[in-house]
Symmetry: C2
Subunit: 183 residues, 2 copies
């Protein structure tokens, strides 16, 4: 269901094609949710069936015509409803393959496992370097504006990205230390 509401939420910003939605998602929400184009198209058809979105066709030459989707009033109501009933139990079960692998790593050479932790740190450092300029940019955009603005909330998620990455890096470093002790 989450993808459904992401689409409605984004169409609230502006009307878009399925392709646009994919591009938009890849550049924003992708840090904490992802979806394939095929999934987006499928969901758009369902949303249309529900009357939550409408589309108009913009003809193109040499390319398939654009279907520009907009959110309907009913769609907007459904979106707000979803937003308001935040699940109390932290709904989506967390799945983390990296941790599964660590859990079973007794079967791995310590040196090898250390390399994996180092890879992990490298990945997260890259992420930090992506988040930092975004954080700055959003801060600049926010100056003088009040909090009604979406940017304020986007920034909260970017801050979380920063704090998460830093915390993971320091955990991974501790793991490497522990492993080196008993090498």
């Amino acid at each position: 269901m989450t993808l459904r509401y992401i689409i409605l939420g984004l169409l609230n910003y502006m009307s878009m094609t399925g392709y646009d939605l994919k591009v938009f998602m890849d550049r924003s929400i992708n840090f904490f949710w992802s979806a394939e184009l095929s999934q987006i198209y499928r969901e758009l058809s369902k949303l249309e069936g529900l009357g939550y979105v409408n589309y108009r066709i913009e003809p193109q030459e040499g390319r398939p015509d654009k279907k520009i989707y907009s959110i309907s009033q009913e769609g907007n109501i459904a979106f707000i409803e979803w937003l308001r009933d935040f699940p109390d139990t932290l709904s989506t079960p967390s799945r983390n393959e990296f941790l599964v692998r660590i859990f079973f790593s007794s079967k791995l050479k310590k040196e090898e496992l250390i390399l994996h932790f180092e890879d992990y740190i490298r990945e997260l450092t890259k992420e930090l370097k992506i988040y930092e300029p975004i954080d700055k940019k959003l801060s600049e955009k926010l100056i003088g504006k009040d909090c009604e603005d979406d940017i304020f909330y986007h920034k909260l998620t970017v801050k979380r990205g920063l704090s998460f990455a830093r915390s993971e890096i320091s955990w991974a470093k501790e793991c490497i230390e522990e492993l080196k002790k008993i090498l």
Copy 2:
């Protein structure tokens, strides 16, 4: 694919029924992976088809007979292979519904959002209280043993649970502060 290797990994510890696997998972790996019984049974059939597991039947009275699964040699080879080729790109896409909701929260009253952050903090505090005694227990078990032991690796994942929960709590507190500033 991850569930497949979790099952193989657990059967490496000991032979079990599908039901046992579910119970075992719920008490350990559940913090970073979960699966329904129906999914486990389905995967066990597939694994049997692949020759990665075998089972013997233990008859029972008044209850369905037990099917006690063991890992085969081929299964063990497949498991080790999986463990060795750690994906370089941090494979499974992270999905976090809570963050999606925060991203779109401009449509929510600030007071309401603060309540959601407080719920989140409460959840994570509960988690901390679960992890802390586990961490202690594992530390005690580890004394005098060397690192070949699975417990050492399990403890790394528990440490991560602690560090994650603490980091999330402090982020959520900051968010509340930010929101109160502009209330």
